[in-house]
Amino acid sequence: MKILVNKKEYNLNIDPDMPLLWVLRDILYLTGTKYGCGIGVCKTCTVLIDGVPEQSCVVPVSYVENKEITTIEGLSADGNHPLQKAWFEKSVSQCGYCQPGFILQAAYLISKNPKPSLDDINRALSEHICRCGTYSKIREAILFATKE
């Protein structure tokens, strides 16, 4: 089976039912995608599939055949995505574990809505959990990244 992750093609000989999360983490060693709950609840494992955020823990790898996957490692070539810069500027992370999921979800949000309001941000990220409580900083960073 062929999958395309961060513009790189991989030829894999694996069970098509294997969740994408474990393919990324244990086979491709792309450990930037995190395991939080494994049942679609916490959203920390979020990746972009053809540009759309999905939970890699509940997506079987067969589903992504011929689709383009973007993980946090591939969001930008050099860490210069406006959100990555804003996260740095606002010093958002505490433990940092949930942040890849938030950033990818936020990247999708601003791709559809380049000037999100506070409400738009809250709505778009309302299913993601940050156990450390960085929510206020996440809001600040997205607003910072999207102001002129």
Binding site: C37, C42, S76, S93, Q94, S126, G133
Partner: protein, 783 residues
């Protein structure tokens, strides 16, 4: 030059990691690159200057700071690097932090009690100052001028009254030949000269967090490794009776099944196969002595241990005698516990997110029956800690599996495993007796703490007369352990709630009442400032309320005001939270802000929703769906003020927790007159349902059973049963719509059965609109 020190803390026993370890540099965003990531391993030739075990100056002009406490989200890697960099006059962008491995030469490495900065403050400052003096001495010899004629700035030594300068790296060759100036010979900076400390600094790891490059405990990978999970007995105090692993072993990619004292471990080529293998095990458990245990039984036992208090002094004119109840809590870190272990020929190497590497080393050595010298524990980033990782259970399991299987393994708990096998914050019951005299002043404060798991009492931080504390405990075998701010989590909730009760009993303003109960200028100061910032005393809209509370601990002072509203339907909204914190000296204000927000959300989340419960001898919760945490759309804005009042720092990782819950509950009282004496708040309807109102001429509501376990039947009688489309909406305590249900009519009443199977136990509000009027009725899903 002591090259070995530097090498040894980065050396791998067996080969090299495939993923990047958390060794990162300070950095600035440039259009060029994110930053360079330094990976140091044994292949790299390190020819630097190591004046102490704490700092190294490399040939590339980097300053490498060794961090001997664990990064769990409290920002210690940044803080420690800042402290050394300040005294060393290093260019902050050239500073790198590396984690120390477990070794007694670093002193106590347990990350707990908010002690890291306080314990290492002088040590790390001296280390920076010694290195700086050594570099100055080297420059003075090279230039042939007195050391007094040299000064340092941004990783350079300059000639005073001259033009010569040398980068730190250029001084290494000379400096390695000179003696390191003793710690007592170097002068530390005065606070007014600080350039890095006391100023907001960005997290040193942020560039790597946002690009997925930080290696957390669960991210460690090496060639040929396997993945392992464990099946543990779900019964508290139960044990394994028998098991059959035939089916599990048939799964291609499952490489072994091993019986350990902790349970049955399944090792496979990847995490998914390990989980599949575990699902295929057939197991019988001995349910043990607690097979029927419930949380209710535990609290019943607590109640049976309540004893009569003595009388309060005879000037007492009014008194309260009451009970507060606080539940078990899981830590529920974002990253479930995991550890990598490799065992070969009597040697074991660990890579893990642990708060207690020295303890991990000792316990792994004794579990494997090898000497501590043959155990190497390397510390990686933790996806949250909160006290959970002070216990080394998961590290020991990893080591045992590595030894049993002969493979390098990453062992991990699933989220459900992680919650069920936690060391919970103890559950406790607090019986209280307190009174006031004719002037409203307290006459005594009696407090009995009864717990499962150790909970010490805490003396109130106000000046109260006749304070008496008692403790009792009873164990049902539920494992407990430290949880962010430990005994303060329960005690401050109780103390600050009771002070509020006394203020209301005395008819006094709760802020002024507290001010009158202390002579501590710092406490008064944070209380006054938080009252000012929150405009305490000004009028709020109808249904709103404010609560105030304070805490003194970890060398710091803090006061909180929480502002809430409770709607007609009973929906609670946390409108805003104000905090004023006095850390003494704020080492990194940006990080303090993060900690106060994070601990604040812990306080709100746990107060509102969180509870670990037991039924049939088993932990009932299994994930974020039934051990809830606040989401981004549920958290208020924070207003945080950080004071500077001395030259000495205090602990900031836990201080933001204790006074949040009571401030919230005091605000709810202010808004509704309902006093929360049992956590979580979600167990108490914030709506006083009047029986008469319930049977208003328009509509009569009935829920059966109530409280209910999973299903509840709703009956509504109206004065008009002709309209056939009555529906109800079910909301959670924060007013989030949970689901909607249409009611069917039988001619005289409407009814429906609601199913709460997958929803957490809590109060819910059944809201229906009839004749243009909203009606709200609380129902309670019990455990």
């Amino acid at each position: 030059m002591d090259e070995k020190v530097f090498l040894s803390r980065r050396r791998f026993i067996f080969g090299t990691a495939l993923t990047l370890t958390g060794v990162v540099s300070g950095f600035i965003f440039s259009d060029k690159a994110l930053a360079e990531l330094i990976i140091l391993d044994e292949k790299e030739k390190v020819l630097g200057l190591t004046p102490s075990i704490w700092v190294e100056i490399t040939k590339e002009n980097k300053v490498v700071v060794t961090v001997a406490r664990s990064e769990i989200g409290q920002g210690v890697r940044t803080t420690f690097a800042m402290i050394v960099a300040e005294e060393l006059d290093a260019d902050w962008n050239l500073v790198v932090a590396v984690n120390a491995e477990a070794d007694s030469k670093y002193g106590n490495q347990a990350t707990g009690g908010s002690t890291s900065v306080r314990n290492f403050w002088t040590t790390l400052r001296s280390a920076g100052a010694q290195a700086r003096q050594l570099l100055i001495n080297a420059a003075s010899q090279i230039w042939g001028i007195p050391a007094e004629n040299c000064y340092t700035s941004n990783s350079f030594v300059y000639e005073r009254n001259g033009t010569r300068k040398l980068a730190y790296a250029e001084l290494i060759d000379k400096a390695v030949q000179l003696p390191v100036p003793p710690a007592n010979s170097v002068k530390l900076k005065s606070v007014s000269d600080f350039k890095i400390l006391g100023k907001p600094q960005k997290n040193i790891d942020e560039p790597f967090f946002v690009t997925g490059k930080v290696t957390f405990g669960s991210d460690y990978r090496v060639e040929g490794m396997k993945y392992a999970v464990i099946l543990r007995c779900p019964y508290i105090g139960g044990s394994l009776s028998s098991y059959d692993d035939t089916e599990a072993k048939k799964i291609k990619g499952v490489v072994g099944v091993y019986r350990l004292s902790e349970g049955i471990a399944v090792v496979a080529d990847n995490s998914w196969l390990a989980l599949k293998g575990r699902d295929a095990l057939k197991v019988n458990w001995n349910r043990g002595p607690n097979a029927n245990l419930t949380t209710d039984q535990i609290f019943d036992k607590f109640r049976s241990l309540v004893e009569t208090f003595p009388n309060l002094s005879n000037e007492t004119v009014k008194e309260i005698e009451t009970i507060y109840e606080v539940p078990f809590l899981a830590h529920s870190t974002m990253e479930p516990m995991s550890a990598f272990a490799n065992y070969k020929e009597g040697k074991c190497e660990i890579w893990a997110g642990t708060q207690n590497p020295q303890n991990a080393r000792t316990t792994v050595a004794s579990a494997l029956g090898i000497s501590e010298n043959n155990v190497k524990v390397n510390v990686l980033h933790s996806g949250g800690g909160f006290g959970r990782r002070l216990n080394s259970d998961f590290v020991v399991i990893a080591a045992k599996i590595a030894k049993a299987s002969g493979f390098p393994v990453l062992f991990f708990y699933t989220k459900a495993d992680d919650i069920k096998n936690d060391y919970f914050r103890p559950a406790s019951l607090h019986s209280i007796k307190a009174g006031i005299n004719a002037n409203g002043k307290p006459t005594g404060f009696f407090h009995r703490v009864i717990s499962q798991g150790d909970v010490s009492y805490v003396n109130p931080h106000y000046s109260l007369p006749d304070v008496r504390n008692y403790t009792a405990s009873h164990s049902f075998g539920v494992r407990t352990g430290p949880w962010r701010s430990v005994d303060y989590t329960q005690n401050i909730f109780v103390i600050e709630s009771v002070i509020d009760e006394l203020a209301h009993l005395a008819g006094k303003d709760p802020f002024q009442y507290r001010m009158d109960l202390t002579n501590d200028a710092k406490l008064k100061n944070v209380l006054r400032k938080v009252a000012e910032n929150s405009k305490w005393g000004t009028e709020l809209p109808k249904g709103w309320g404010r609560g105030i509370s304070s805490f003194v601990g970890y060398g710091a002072y803090i006061a909180h005001v929480v502002e809430v509203s409770v709607s007609k339907e009973g929906f609670l909204k946390i409108q805003k939270i104000y905090a004023v914190v006095d850390p003494g000296f704020p080492v990194n204000p940006e990080n303090i802000k993060n900690q106060i927000m994070g601990a604040g959300i812990d306080g709100l989340s746990t107060a509102l929703n969180s509870e670990i419960t037991i039924q049939n001898g088993q932990i009932q919760q299994s994930g974020f769906h039934n051990f809830r945490w606040l989401r981004i759309d549920e958290v208020p804005e924070f207003d945080i003020e950080i004071l500077t009042t001395s030259d000495r720092p205090s602990g900031m990782g836990e201080v933001g927790f204790p006074s949040v819950t009571p401030a919230l509950c005091n605000a709810i009282f202010d808004a509704t007159g309902i006093r929360i004496r049992r956590l979580p708040i979600g167990k108490t309807p914030l709506l006083k349902v009047d029986e008469k109102e319930n049977k208003s001429k328009d509509l009569e509501f009935n829920a059966y059973p109530n409280p209910f376990e999973t299903k509840v039947t709703i009956n509504i009688k109206t004065n008009d049963n002709k309209s056939s489309n009555l529906s109800v909406r079910i909301f959670d305590i924060l007013g989030k719509l949970v689901f909607e249900s249409k009611l069917s009519s039988d001619g005289t009443s409407y009814h429906t059965q609601l199913d709460f199977e997958n929803l957490p136990s809590s109060v819910y509000y059944v809201v229906c609109e009839f004749n243009n009027q909203l009606h709200s009725f609380p129902i309670l899903k019990k455990n």
